[in-house]
């Protein structure tokens, strides 16, 4: 019994020590470290107009950059922008290279396993196919066996190729894909509805439209580190505020994006 007690005591001490050491090892506190550094490092897109793109001086601007600026202002710190792409944005966050990610990322359960994606979401997109109005495409099944241009890293590419049987021609940038569409190398481009909505007004694309019913509506979320519930809760509050005050709707207008029903709906919800 004595020995047993001794062991019990020892293990209790060990457990306490672990508990004390545990949070320090596994939990990160982004807010504290950001305040200590005096700057927040935000990963944004630099090739996705108008959410995050480059201006002639090399500066990154766009709707999501405005959001990032707002977060920095609320935290009372400087901002540093790091351009990310779909292939490295989650890795950067995990490594600690960036503190926060606002990079046109659609919410996906498997993504939420790797990083923290606080709710509510700040935007929503869906996938559609941009093609000539005269293409005769009516349903996704019509794509079967036809060449369809796609952009690297989009989550609906797989579905378009595997479920609907399209022959995907994948490009690195959306402009390349649009050029291929123009040149007749593919029957349509599968991409975010948000992007197509932005170019619909152009005279150049007057003969084209989103010809299919949109699929896979996905809300867009910001990314924080998985083990940082404090920062996630903070960002939740910030995003709620963005909806409530109509900040997102105002930004949408500022960047010339057609009003999305999602934002109107969310604003009504949080009012």
């Amino acid at each position: 019994m004595r020995i047993g007690k001794g062991w019990l005591g020892l293990s209790a001490i060990a457990a306490l020590a672990l508990a004390a050491a545990g949070p320090a090892w596994t939990q990160t506190d982004t807010i504290a470290s950001v305040k200590q550094k005096g700057k927040v490092v935000v990963g944004v897109k630099a090739d996705y107009k108008p959410f995050g793109y480059t201006d002639p001086s090399g500066k990154i601007v766009g709707l999501e950059v405005d959001l990032a600026d707002d977060v920095a202002k609320r935290l009372g710190v400087q901002i540093e922008l790091v351009p990310v792409i779909a292939a490295n944005r989650m890795e950067f966050l995990k490594q600690g290279r960036i503190d926060l990610m606002i990079a046109t990322m659609a919410y996906k359960p498997d993504r939420a396993e790797v990083i923290g994606i606080p709710e509510p979401f700040y935007y929503a997109g869906a996938a559609n196919v941009f093609a000539k109005k005269s293409s005769g495409l009516k349903a996704w099944a019509d794509l079967k066996g036809k060449p369809v241009c796609a952009i690297q890293g989009a989550y609906y590419n797989r579905r378009t190729g595997e479920e609907f049987g399209a022959n995907l021609v994948v490009f690195k940038g959306v402009t390349e894909a649009m050029a291929a569409l123009e040149a007749g190398n593919c029957v349509g481009v599968v991409f975010d509805t948000t992007f197509f909505a932005g170019i619909m007004g152009d005279a150049k694309w007057a003969d084209y439209a989103m010809v299919l019913p949109s699929i896979d509506p996905e809300p867009w979320g910001v990314g924080v580190r998985k083990d940082d519930p404090k920062f996630a809760a903070y960002m939740s509050g910030v995003i709620k505020d963005w909806h409530k005050t109509g900040y997102l709707l105002a930004l949408e207008k500022k960047w010339g994006i057609p009003q999305s029903p999602y934002l109107v709906e969310q604003q009504a919800k949080f009012k």
Binding site: Y48, K49, P56, G58, T175, M178
Partner: protein
């Protein structure tokens, strides 16, 4: 092989692409030439970055390659064997794979004591590109040493030179001349390969070109801007290639 004829063809393609874009231009939009002028400063910044990466990768690759090459001609079989494996691995692995490997293996910052030393992406890319250069420089060194008639080694020994003295004072000075053309050739190849860094997210000229085309959203800009960048690389690499061939002709072993 970069020839002046290729340069003329490239220039012609560039001019033709601009003419085509001008003809198809929609009135009211800025012309392709205006756009190229507008973005040139940013592209230049990106291109300088490529050159920076190429300089450092060549420097690191050459220093490491000389060491590795010396190991390749070591009289000790284990050293020779090990270095053979290293050389074969890095010569035959695709550059992009090495690049990815280095990018994701190395941390983005180091903690030494209380200070944090950042380790930016472009330095990681530089190290990744230095690896194949290292292996190829090692092979160039080995080849050059072995191309010196072995009789010289025997002659040196008969004059009581040690192995080290023979290598440093007799063999290597002759090798430098022979190594120069292939070394410069690898530099030109490396410079062109720096664009691979765009795939791992370094903001070099190709990354910027993609960002520019997306910012403009103009499909007619694609061919002119990519041929424009191609032309820059040609203008930089062509003199190197020309000089390499001249040196090769001069040092040719007959």
């Amino acid at each position: 092989m970069l020839t002046s004829r290729a340069g003329v063809a490239l220039l012609a393609a560039f001019v033709a692409s601009i003419v085509v874009a001008q003809v198809q231009a929609i009135p009211g939009q800025p012309s392709v030439v205006e756009l190229l002028v507008k973005w040139t400063p940013l592209l230049a910044k990106g291109f300088l970055f490529n050159l920076l990466i190429s300089f450092f990768a060549m420097l690191v690759g050459t220093l490491a390659g000389v060491l590795l090459g010396s190991a390749r001609i070591s009289p000790r079989p284990p050293v020779r064997g090990m270095s053979w494996i290293v050389v074969q691995f890095f010569r035959n692995a695709p550059w992009l794979v090495l690049l990815f490997f280095v990018m994701f293996l190395l941390p983005f910052e180091f903690h030494v004591g209380g200070t944090t030393i950042p380790f930016p992406d472009w330095i990681k890319a530089t190290l990744g590109l230095a690896l194949p250069i290292m292996a190829n420089v090692a092979e160039i060194l080995r080849g050059a040493v072995q191309s010196i008639p072995t009789a010289q080694w025997d002659a040196a020994r008969s004059l009581a030179f040690s192995r080290r003295q023979t290598l440093w004072k007799i063999i290597l000075p002759q090798c430098v001349k022979r190594m120069l053309p292939p070394w410069m050739n690898w530099y030109a190849i490396l410079t062109m390969a720096t664009t691979l860094a765009s795939i791992v997210g370094v903001s070099e000229v190709m990354t910027l070109t993609l960002r520019i085309t997306n910012a403009e959203g103009r499909t007619d800009l694609l061919i002119p801007i990519y041929s424009y960048v191609l032309l820059w690389f040609f203008v930089y690499c062509w003199p190197i290639s020309l000089m390499t061939r001249r040196l090769e002709a001069r040092y040719e072993v007959r």
